[in-house]
């Protein structure tokens, strides 16, 4: 049943939508790129970040202490209410990445990075989702070569087929995959929520600056998402 949740905080310089009427059952959780390459401090991005120890320490501490616990809470909530969950993995679709145009900076980024590329090929352990996520057979796992699934998967089509109107987004990196995805989702009309304490960037300033300039999405904490959606779903009764 539709109900209202707080939406945008007021601003003196522009009209904002203070409350939004939503259908809580039309909500999906989108977990972006929570994979070994991005979450294991000793592999993938973790190996690259050894060159910048301060970033390494900040990022992996936040991943372990903030992001993963809140992602687990969100996942449990969506599963308990039998709402859709979509996971994405960033990687190549072919063994040698030939699907990336030879003239594209994407192909150059793969070459320049040697054996620690931004996108791992199929079968690479770095490409796998973080083990604690353990997606279920009725949850979508989408492989993509771009940061936003809207640029290289049929996610939009699947969401519309499933009747999804509201997207709750968590994952990494806040100012890369998360922000690009959230901007597109909001721009396509989804009621889009980025869960600020279930995302991480390589530096606190990157994270904060990205979310401060949110375009067509709002930011909420995990507590707020669970409380606000939970209150609306309770009035539906058990499914």
């Amino acid at each position: 049943m539709r109900g209202s949740i707080p939406w945008q905080p007021p601003r003196p310089d522009r009209y904002t939508i203070a409350e939004l009427a939503i259908e809580p059952r039309a909500t999906a959780l989108l977990l972006l790129d929570l994979q070994v390459a991005h979450l294991d401090p000793e592999r993938g991005l973790g190996r690259r970040l050894r060159a910048t120890p301060a970033q390494h320490a900040y990022y992996y501490t936040r991943v372990a202490e903030v992001v993963l616990p809140n992602v687990a809470r969100l996942q449990a909530f969506f599963r308990a209410h039998r709402l859709p969950i979509v996971y994405t993995r960033l990687g190549l679709l072919t063994a040698d990445g030939r699907e990336l145009a030879s003239w594209s900076w994407h192909a150059a980024a793969q070459r320049v990075a040697g054996d620690i590329p931004p996108r791992y090929p199929p079968g690479a352990p770095e490409r796998e989702l973080w083990p604690s996520l353990a997606p279920r057979p009725d949850e979508l796992v989408l492989d993509k070569s771009t940061l936003s699934p809207f640029n290289s998967t049929m996610l939009d089509q699947y969401l519309r087929n499933m009747g999804v109107e509201n997207l709750v987004i968590a994952g990494v990196l806040t100012d890369a995959a998360v922000e690009t995805t959230a901007r597109s989702a909001g721009d396509r009309g989804y009621n889009t929520i980025v869960v600020e304490d279930a995302c991480a960037a390589l530096a606190a300033e990157h994270h904060t600056a990205a979310l401060a300039t949110a375009s067509w999405y709002v930011c909420k904490r995990t507590d707020e998402v669970l409380a606000q959606l939970g209150a609306l779903l309770e009035t539906d009764g058990p499914r």
Binding site: R11, P12, D13, R14, Y15, T16, I17, L20, L45, R48, L49, A51, T52, L100, A101, W103, S104, W105, H106, A108, A109, V112, A113, P118, T146, L147, S148, F150, N151, S152, L173, D175, A176, E179, T180, R183, S184, G186, D187, R188, G189, N191, L202, H206, A209, A210, A212, T213, S215, W216
Partner: protein
């Protein structure tokens, strides 16, 4: 003919320091410079200089326009229809195609041989066939300018880079009312998505590249 140019500064873990590009496969993308957008004069001038350069070298110039296709904006998604560019206490802002406000800035005066694409959302890849036309034109590299830096320019430029285009964002040919938001877009873009350059640098770079390229650019 591909030539190697400086691309991204080091710092980000996957920064690409140098990139081989074919300058003849470059288009200029001017975002939402329309009658209703209040533009600083120097930003308009920067755009005119870039546009005249691209025109002189026979490279594609693409203009984007944003608004609604229908007078009551039913074609926009509901939150946009309700709140886009709306001032507090004012009715919803309407800028339908066909209205004077929707037209491109008079100074731009596109030629009949230049592409003008309409969109009804912030990012061109979400509401226009831009990707199709870039593919048709054989474009690999995009030079992006226009307004506003943190909204229509940011979302369009980052989606272009995400789709594989080699994107140069021209920092002094973009404008945003919010200087912090303007800077945030430029910093994030340089970190994760592509090159950020000033107008003078772009003109000097492409002058050099095209002088070394074979004649007969399409």
């Amino acid at each position: 003919m591909r030539q190697t140019i400086r691309w991204q500064a080091s710092g980000a873990p996957y920064a690409v320091p140098e990139l081989a590009i074919d300058p003849a496969r470059t288009a200029l993308l001017i975002v939402d410079m329309q009658q209703y957008s209040a533009l600083p004069r120097q930003v308009l001038d920067a755009n005119l200089r870039l546009r005249d350069f691209f025109r002189a070298h026979g490279l594609p110039v693409i203009y984007l326009r944003v608004g609604s296709l229908l007078p009551d904006a039913q074609d926009q998604h509901p939150k946009r229809r309700e709140s886009w560019l709306r001032a507090p206490g004012a009715p919803p802002f309407r800028c339908p195609r066909g209205s004077a406000a929707y037209e491109l800035c008079a100074e731009l005066a596109p030629l009949p041989t230049e592409l003008v694409l309409d969109k009804n959302s912030t990012g061109a890849f979400n509401s226009s066939p831009l990707d199709y036309y870039l593919h048709q034109l054989g474009v690999e590299n995009l030079v992006v300018t226009g307004v506003s830096t943190n909204h229509c320019v940011d979302t369009t430029a980052r989606d272009a880079a995400d789709r594989g285009y080699n994107v140069i964002l021209v920092e002094d040919a973009c404008a945003d009312r919010d200087p912090v938001a303007h800077r945030t877009t430029l910093e994030t873009f340089a970190r994760h998505f592509g090159a950020v350059r000033r107008t003078e640098e772009v003109l000097a770079l492409f002058t050099a590249l095209l002088s070394r390229a074979p004649a007969g650019v399409a």
